[in-house]
Symmetry: C2
Subunit: 503 residues, 2 copies
């Protein structure tokens, strides 16, 4: 047996197959807690595990920290408990119940109530923890429709809080909290991750970069005892006496998994949001020992119709010329409704008063310009009387500040009656519909990975997009929910693993 394990090359290991414990003769590394991945979830898990006194070893496949988290705008979804400092200073008293209700709605039909409750009640403490890691936050507020503005400001509306039907069921409140960061893409994610990484190093986390975890090591009862990792081209056996925490991201880059679990992504083009390693290997390692992977069809995607914010006053129609959503919804929700239309052609209709050049990254192009809506309808080769009817009906009600069909909010209602008019192409497969995956391992709030029948797999934890967490419904996603989930439940997993009885 020992000969066999010593002679095994890296090609003998597959994430979808655990390496049998009985075939491990020597452990090259022994530690208490192994963390796989150095994004927001892995960094938070490592910090808490090390802070709890566990020997903590982190393997990151890339050459530096951050993962896909560092590419994000960096807002974290926080509130409740009477409000964060930024909320209170700007007049928002956010109740825990409203925060909880909103996140339950956002989570969709299988929202994890225990997880949401825990997060809602602990959000302010978690915010304090983030600051204690060195992440700077101002208390300033930016109203209106903005995305990762890069102005250093803190509080923004980052979801559907003030859009129908959410605003009928929970008191609206802005909850996106950005670190004090500046720059074109916001820079907040990078700042967040740099601080977390520095803190992990400070706490003595033994970090290995360019380190690909190949598979789990498990016994015949599927208890997890460690991992096999490729270090400098060689497989190394790493024993984790207390637990392995999978924080390896989602599967936005694995074409085979996308086709089998989330085939809708084939329509979206090549705009996966990933720093390069969301290959699903974390999920496959969990599945390899019987972990269930749930909601694997759910993806986050978005159609950035703003900036410019004025375009929220436009209306979206499908290729039948029909409206289909309140255009003041979060762009992620809008994108999901676009995907439900019969056909890939989606148009944003604007008039002279609200038109501005769409942002370049959105790849939203001008499809037709005309002096009348009849002219636009003809140019788009739509059936006569379809688009024209939709605009007329919208205008008639918008003039009265109403949208009885889709309930767009009054601030965004304006008759589109100032020529020239334009139709902007937001077509699926052409415009920018970036995406990442929301499905993943089934876990308890502690990060313990569960089988399809709810049994705990001893020694295995997961956090971040390797699991199905707080954000598990594309329709309800709000910006900041994934990073909130990664950091908070990464911490929970780090603590749980550090506190597990050693084997």
């Amino acid at each position: 047996m020992s000969t066999q394990s010593r002679r095994a090359g890296t090609e003998d290991f597959r994430a979808s197959r655990p390496w049998p414990l009985s075939q491990v003769s020597d452990w090259q590394i022994e530690t208490d807690v192994v963390v796989v991945g150095f994004g927001a979830a892995g960094a938070s898990a490592a910090i808490e595990a090390a802070a709890a006194g566990a020997r903590t070893t982190l393997f990151e496949v890339a050459s530096g920290s951050g993962g896909t988290s560092a590419m994000a705008g960096g807002d974290i979804y926080l509130g409740g408990n009477g409000g964060t400092p930024a909320q209170r200073e700007n007049g928002f008293e956010d109740s825990t119940e409203d925060f909880f209700r909103y996140m339950m709605l956002a989570g969709g039909p299988d929202a994890d109530e225990e997880r949401v409750r825990l997060y809602a009640e602990a959000a302010l403490d978690h915010f304090d923890w983030l600051k204690a890691q060195g992440i700077p936050y101002r208390t300033s507020y930016l109203p209106g429709k903005v995305q990762a503005p890069g102005t250093g400001d803190c509080l923004i509306w980052s979801g559907n809080e003030d859009a129908w039907p959410f605003n009928e069921q929970a008191q609206p409140c802005p909850r996106g909290h950005l670190p004090e960061a500046y720059g074109e893409l916001g820079g907040g994610g990078r700042m967040l991750l740099d601080n977390l990484a520095a803190r992990a190093t400070e706490l003595g986390v033994d970090t290995h970069f360019d380190a690909r975890v190949l598979c789990l090591v498990a016994d015949e009862s599927a208890q997890v005892h460690g991992v096999v990792v490729r270090l400098a081209g060689e497989p190394r056996f790493v024993r984790a006496t207390r637990g392995v925490i999978l924080c390896a991201g989602g599967f936005a880059l694995d074409r085979e998994m996308l086709r089998e679990y989330a085939p809708v992504t084939a329509r979206l083009g090549d705009d996966a949001l990933s720093a390069g390693y969301d290959d699903g290997s974390g999920i496959r390692m969990g599945q390899s020992v019987g972990g269930a992977a749930i909601h694997m069809d759910e993806i986050f995607t978005t159609l950035p119709i703003y900036p410019p914010a004025s375009h929220v006053k436009g209306i979206l129609v499908n290729e039948q010329g029909q409206r289909f959503v309140n255009e003041d919804a979060y762009p992620g929700r809008i994108a999901i409704h676009c995907l439900r239309q019969p056909g890939d052609r989606i148009f944003l209709l604007v008039d002279h008063a609200i038109f501005e050049q769409p942002s370049e990254f959105s790849r939203i192009e001008i499809a037709a310009v005309g002096e009348s809506w009849e002219e636009i309808e003809r140019e788009l080769e739509m059936v006569e009387g379809t688009l024209v009817h939709s605009v007329a009906l919208f205008n008639q009600h918008a003039a009265k500040g109403e949208d009885p069909l889709f309930h767009k909010g009054a601030p965004y209602l304006k008759a589109l009656d100032e020529p020239p008019f334009a139709a902007l192409a937001c077509h699926i497969g052409e415009a920018f519909y970036p995406y990442f995956t929301l499905g993943g391992l089934r876990v308890r709030p502690s990060g313990e990975v569960l089988t399809a029948e709810g049994e705990i797999i001893p020694g295995l934890y997961a956090a971040g997009r390797t699991c199905s967490g707080l954000p598990r419904s594309a329709e309800g996603y709000s910006s900041g929910m994934s990073l909130g989930d990664c950091t908070f439940f990464g911490r929970m997993a780090g603590r749980a693993a550090a506190g597990a009885a050693p084997r």
Copy 2:
């Protein structure tokens, strides 16, 4: 170890955890091939395994054969190769390429080309095999929109073959083949299964009823060696020297799995199509040894707007009064489009000329009656000018035999202009939207179960709705595709297992 295994009670076994081979001291049954489930897939697998000379043992949790398959109308989707006898006799020369193309479209974005190709080329041979098992077929043809008519006739249109967009991409041809059966619910599924069960018995398959398979037995490399089955209240260890074939149906009855994998079913009410045992245990057993479960969000559901066939000439609108699908599509496709609408209220609009009482089982109720469409619109409390516009636009084009918006076929186009008019409520959660699950284990056409990385799990096979097979997209499903898949690929799995090298 041996003490432990002898003392284990049935409660110690979970489908989601394989029983370690090392903990089995005595095998109470030794056989070559174990088949789990006696529906269409299991019966076909057992027949072929036994016919190939393998000792074959079948465990069925119910007290008799048939499973959910026996509840079906019994049509099997067949064609290509110039046509079946029924097709040729009625003037349909079905080419293998058209048959293949249609099934690829029906399979959706992850249609399994190898599987579809094999089925398309072998369909006539498979039909001969079905007849050789004793299943009687006439060659008569029923045109038009019918579902499991129970008239003893054979050939029917059972899918989207002649509906847009399918009819633009493959030459339309009817391919549903019903056994000669009579009765209100068709009776074809029962007749099919009775014949297959009798044949299995004749071939010496050792069949155990009231026999719940609890879990797989696997070694630490996840090779499958047998099963643990509950017989007369006691766990029994069953060794399968050549293979275990999981044909245990889908998970339409497991609320937890539905919530985690196919939460849309929560909207549909309690109309799962199941004989009582589609609890997902077959899928969970496959997952327990690293088998990937794919397309778990896909369900078959349907909205039986016909009979009466005249109602296909009506139009469907959502609660915004918008049309959304060609109403001559297969009702399964219609149901999926209903689920994409913003809201649960769906109406079928009919006029005096086409109205008949909806069939009782459909639970489609009259929501409004009026002398004008304006009156209907008001009664339904729709926004003024919405439903009326949709009807006017449809009527204007229907009068010319056209449907430029949704491409309904000419035979079903008629202006809805003969009062009185009616709106029939087809609401989601109220009308009959029966469903079963399409997601399941990832398998090769041979039935060999695969991990997420495509490795074969030695000793494990699956067929029928325990796997993701031919029908893997709700939008494209055609009646007869699931039974075609169950019987044909059940056979393939039976042969493959019987031919495997014994361990």
